[in-house]
Symmetry: C2
Subunit: 328 residues, 2 copies
């Protein structure tokens, strides 16, 4: 596990340099500070690493992938800032959320700024001797992911008010909310690296499956993980979130347990956690989620089969296992 | 005046078609409704018209300019939705603001969606046989304007808490907040139309001066105009806004009037309007603003001198006068 974290960190410095360069000219200072706050707070930098590795896996140069990598991190950070306002979350990456420090108006603006800066940054890839057509293709992939992120967040918000969420609805929502940008990362990396059509498809599929596994694992960690990530265990249950575990249990449960689970999930109180967990376990919901995440990890790895062997390909394989095994 | 309004409407239908096409696939329905709300409410469609006219003025085809035109309107609408949340404005274009109908979270998301859709739409210009390099150049201009819009809004918010705003500060703020996107419209139109470097520069300068005149006129209308635009006359004074009139009066006033004007502008009460107007008039602030707007209109028109004569050029000339003479 340690070496994967090292890999994720390997490109962090270069990517941060690109991001700093993009943001340090912003005025006024307040906007600059609000925009850089979360970037400085760290984060795993999973998307930039995936983008660079995908570029390497098709024989592309790392240097030329860095601007798109920074761009993906800027998009991710923009979406976190706006999500935290919408979900009224107080902390992020162990620090107060942007809107908690600068207020909602400045946080909205900081998100918008990072969004625009993301595009400015990927467009600069054209200065790295990447053909214009390829830059446009990479951009198209990123823009498409941004639209999906918005749709995914809207679906997630809509699911808050209903228990009529099917597994298909859930998978569509997490693909859009989380999978699309992770998939855009490997896809853009492949495009910038000069990949063939089938290589782009392979790496896009890898990213899509990885992204879905990533989100299922996120939901799993919330139920079982430690509290070091800053969220109390079971907080999704208290919030009544429609995770894959909840959807599966509601689908399998007898009428009595079904109605009781809904009762518990609408109480919005910490005291419901043990009983809700019991119902989830009774219907094998946690094992089901693990299996579904694992299927996606296998699918992600299989997608890479046709790529030539390389260190980057190996690392992408390891990253898939990391996503399944991570505890935070 | 009537024929200019007709000109603005001339391309509205085509532009709306592009926008509808961009938005009608959005899911869920709530996000689609919130995203299309303001678009359906109308608006002058000044930016799309400017983009198409700039394209025509350099000999480009109208058809090929429509996607970028739609893209500019999407950016404008995104910024209005987010501004209304930040400024806590209840109405826009005679309708309730998006956040008043769907709540702040969905309004943030609707803005983000339009922002992403704007880029998706301009990228599609590549499908209209426009060389990739030119699409990237047009995109660069739009992205740069988006960053400036965010900076301009942040500066505007910052000015709320201080009376130490110079005319230079003000002009920088309104250029970023309003001028940059209007200038991006004429610049992108020229680029897509296949303009030479000096033609692009001429049309960019035209847009910049026009945009500044437009914003000064907006401030002027607030003080003198009718209430048919949905804002009470003098509302900027009640809000204590640092318009060019206020900045000029504070700069010229004797210490007594200076301090009294600040007192009035910090009262946030409608009763201050007559006395504040009196001080503005005493120091010729309103005439000063008119003269400054007029200078910018003249400069905008002069920028077009080097362009070949055409109907589009004539219309751009008329539009400059329209901006100076409009009452709403």
């Amino acid at each position: 596990m340690v070496d994967v974290i090292e890999i994720l960190k390997r490109y962090s410095e270069d990517v941060n340099k690109e991001i700093d360069e993009a943001l340090n000219t912003l005025e006024p200072e307040t906007l600059r500070d609000a925009s850089t706050h979360l970037v400085k707070a760290g984060g795993k930098k999973l998307r930039p690493a995936l983008e660079v590795l995908a570029c390497q896996a098709v024989g592309g140069e790392t240097e030329k992938a860095l601007k798109a990598a920074a761009s993906l991190e800027l998009i991710h950070t923009f979406s976190l800032i706006h999500d935290d306002i919408m979900d009224n979350d107080d902390t992020r990456r162990g620090m107060p959320a942007v809107h908690k420090v600068w207020g909602e108006p400045m946080a909205i603006l900081a998100g918008d700024t990072l969004f625009a800066k993301a595009y400015e940054t990927i467009i600069k890839t054209a200065d790295d001797n990447i053909p214009y057509e390829r830059v446009i293709d990479a951009l198209r992939v990123e823009v498409d992911a941004c639209i999906k992120i918005c749709e995914g967040q809207a679906l997630d918000m809509e699911f808050e008010d209903t228990f009529e969420v099917s597994e298909e609805d859930y998978l569509n929502m997490i693909y859009k909310k989380t999978g699309a940008l992770i998939s855009a990362a490997t896809s853009a990396g492949a495009i910038i690296g000069g990949a063939s059509t089938y290589q782009i498809e392979a790496l896009t599929n890898y990213g899509k499956s990885l992204g879905i596994a990533f989100q299922i694992q996120d939901d799993y960690i919330d139920l079982t993980g430690d509290e070091s990530i800053g969220k109390p265990v079971g907080s999704d249950l208290v919030e009544g979130k429609k995770t894959i575990m909840v959807i599966h249990a509601l689908q399998k449960a007898n009428p009595e347990d079904h109605d009781r689970l809904i009762e518990l999930l609408t109480a919005h109180d910490e005291s419901i956690i043990p009983e809700a967990m019991e119902i989830l376990n009774k219907y094998g919901a946690i094992n089901y989620a693990r299996a579904l995440a694992y299927d996606n990890v296998i699918h992600a790895k299989e997608s890479l089969t046709l790529l030539p062997d390389s260190e980057a390909k190996n690392t992408l394989m390891k990253l898939a296992d990391f996503v399944f095994n991570r505890k935070s």
